[in-house]
């Protein structure tokens, strides 16, 4: 009797392990497929060339530059707004209908498909505000997209700080802002950092909203340099430049028939997966170290 029940249990354990193996195996398979198809193309020429009609001469340089610049905009806009919103919700907001509304919209935005953000950007940034299909538009779109992630993870990090810490600070006469700036933020910094890294790693791989705002799929030039040789040595012309990003470049190559372009796509995918995995790995590591160190 017990034996039979134990038999079921052993059987289920095998089932559970194989289900997990399927998930983990897929990751390995995915990486393996990209590696086999793409590693041959991933060389210096590939990294430093412009797209080309000839698969073997094509490269990813404009996409890498484009991704970097878009991420710069996204980070500069998305992170301050997200962190500020989180601090407000956790430390300042009282329970009113307004905070209720904010919370509901944050959870809801987190579940909105990314392509809907693309439509928003197309209607609002591209046409109504007249920003066109520019790096600025793409950066702002992705900033809105990662906002919920930044807010949620920052709030979680802040919430993990025990209330006694705040009380201790208040008891010493600190104001609310001093408490936040001197205690809450520094203690939750690594948690917030984890969230930011995860959010940016998501943004860098986003394709659908960038397609909708009209990124180019074939581009033979770089955006103007942010540095100039004349005072004031900084230029923001690049913000309005047309662009492409890595996932778009990969998408363009996947959609073209022919094995040569598939190899290019795999190489771009390898780069992309490598970057997101590295960022996620970093986030997991930061979180792991933090959990080890924190003692409350």
């Amino acid at each position: 009797m017990i034996k039979r029940r134990k038999f079921f249990e052993a059987w289920f354990k095998a089932l559970g392990l194989s289900a997990l193996a399927l998930a983990v195996g897929t990751l390995v398979l995915l990486f393996g497929a990209l590696l086999i198809d793409g590693i041959g193309r991933l060389d210096w020429q590939f990294l430093t060339s412009f797209p080309s009609r000839h698969a073997s001469q094509a490269g990813i340089l404009p996409a890498v530059v484009g991704s970097t610049l878009v991420m710069l905009v996204t980070a500069c806009v998305g992170i301050p707004i997200g962190v500020a919103a989180a601090i407000y919700l956790e430390e300042y907001a009282r329970r009113t209908w307004l905070t209720e509304l904010i919370e509901v919209t944050v959870t809801n935005l987190a579940g909105v498909p990314s392509i809907i953000f693309g439509l928003l950007a197309l209607g609002l940034f591209v046409y109504m505000l007249g920003l066109g299909s520019s790096i600025l538009t793409a950066g702002l779109t992705l900033a809105l997209l990662i906002l919920p992630v930044v807010i949620v993870t920052t709030r979680e990090a802040i919430r993990a700080i025990p209330v006694q810490i705040r009380e201790a600070a208040f008891a010493l006469g600190a104001t609310r802002w001093q408490t936040v700036a001197d205690h809450v933020l520094p203690y939750s910094a690594s948690g917030i950092l984890t969230g930011i890294i995860l959010a940016l790693s998501r943004a860098i791989g986003e394709t659908a909203p960038i397609v909708t705002v009209g990124a180019l799929t074939f581009i033979a030039f770089l955006p103007p340099s942010p540095m100039t040789d004349q005072p004031p040595y900084l230029s923001f012309e690049w913000l309005m430049s047309p662009f492409t990003v890595m996932p778009i470049q990969m998408f363009a190559w996947v959609s073209r028939p022919g094995e040569d372009f598939a190899a290019n796509a795999a190489a771009a995918g390898l780069l992309l997966v490598g970057m997101t995995l590295a960022m996620n790995g970093l986030a997991i590591y930061v979180r792991y170290r933090m959990r080890k160190r924190v003692s409350w």
Binding site: I2, R5, K6
Partner: protein, 272 residues
């Protein structure tokens, strides 16, 4: 394993107070959480169809001791038993490596400190143990459920709403439901871990009354933080302190003429 003959039992009245027949006994039972020793060579006899109470200040290890009986600690990593818990009449050491904890738990039943009915119907709560044991016959289950609910003095209150959620009952009813759940499988030994600590005095009184009634059929081992309760309901009492057994004896004697100074201090309220 050889049964300890003396030393561990420090009853001044000597062997005359030795309970028998025995349902179970622990022999030099030690228990570790990781490297921390929380039970130190505790030996207690459990008399058949009697109520044995474990008392002592919080943190003395009495709940840990109780949970050794149905190998609850096996569920958590880093725990280790030493010594033996012998179950009679088959004189089996249930801590033996070869003994399956599930087999042990099927012979014993346990009622927890906080009522923990499953979020299922009253009926399914009581039937759960039977279903786990593979009983499918609806009539058998019906009968056992009614019997158990009657034994737990809950039948009259719930017979018209057996399909209501167990969690919808009042606190006292929930705890009696948990007792019914434990009784449905005819356990040889009923373990109770401070079963009335979360209840009001009226619910407590009804459960104490119930235990008096139950002991005619089943052996009971109860942990309580309430000395009056131990004095009211138990036949035997073991007083524990800092993981050690200080004194064991018939309840009446232990509460009137304790042999140990520590016991006397505790029962007169000087510490704990």
């Amino acid at each position: 394993m050889a049964l300890p003959v003396d030393s561990a039992y420090t009853d001044s009245a000597g062997r005359g107070d030795w309970p028998k027949p025995l349902k179970a006994e622990t022999c030099e039972l030690s228990f570790y959480y990781g490297t921390r020793l929380v039970l130190k060579r505790v030996s207690v006899p459990i008399a058949e169809c009697n109520i044995t109470a474990l008392i002592g200040p919080s943190g003395c290890g009495k709940s840990t001791f109780l949970r050794c009986f149905n190998r609850m600690h096996d569920l958590y990593p880093g725990t280790r038993y030493e010594g033996a818990i012998v179950l009679y009449p088959d004189s089996r050491n249930i801590l033996d490596r070869g003994v399956d904890p599930i087999e042990v738990r099927m012979r014993l039943a346990m009622v927890f400190q906080k009522p923990n009915p499953f979020p299922k119907s009253v009926y399914e709560n009581v039937a759960y143990g039977l279903r786990v044991r593979g009983i499918r016959d609806r009539r058998v289950i019906d009968e056992k459920v009614e019997q158990a609910l009657r034994s737990a003095a809950l039948w009259e209150e719930v017979k018209d709403r057996l399909s209501a959620l167990g969690t919808s009952l009042s606190g006292g009813q929930q705890q009696r439901l948990c007792i019914a759940r434990a009784l449905a499988t005819d356990p040889e030994l009923l373990l109770l871990d401070e079963p009335t600590s979360a209840l009001d005095p009226i619910a407590t009184a009804s459960i104490e009354e119930l235990l008096q009634d139950l002991k005619r059929r089943v052996t009971i081992l109860i942990v309580t933080h309430n000395m009056q309760q131990a004095a009211r309901i138990s036949d035997w009492t073991a007083f524990m302190y800092l993981g050690e057994l200080v004194e064991f004896g018939p309840t009446k004697r232990l509460f009137t003429t304790p042999a140990k100074k520590q016991t006397e201090d505790y029962i007169t309220g000087r510490f704990g």
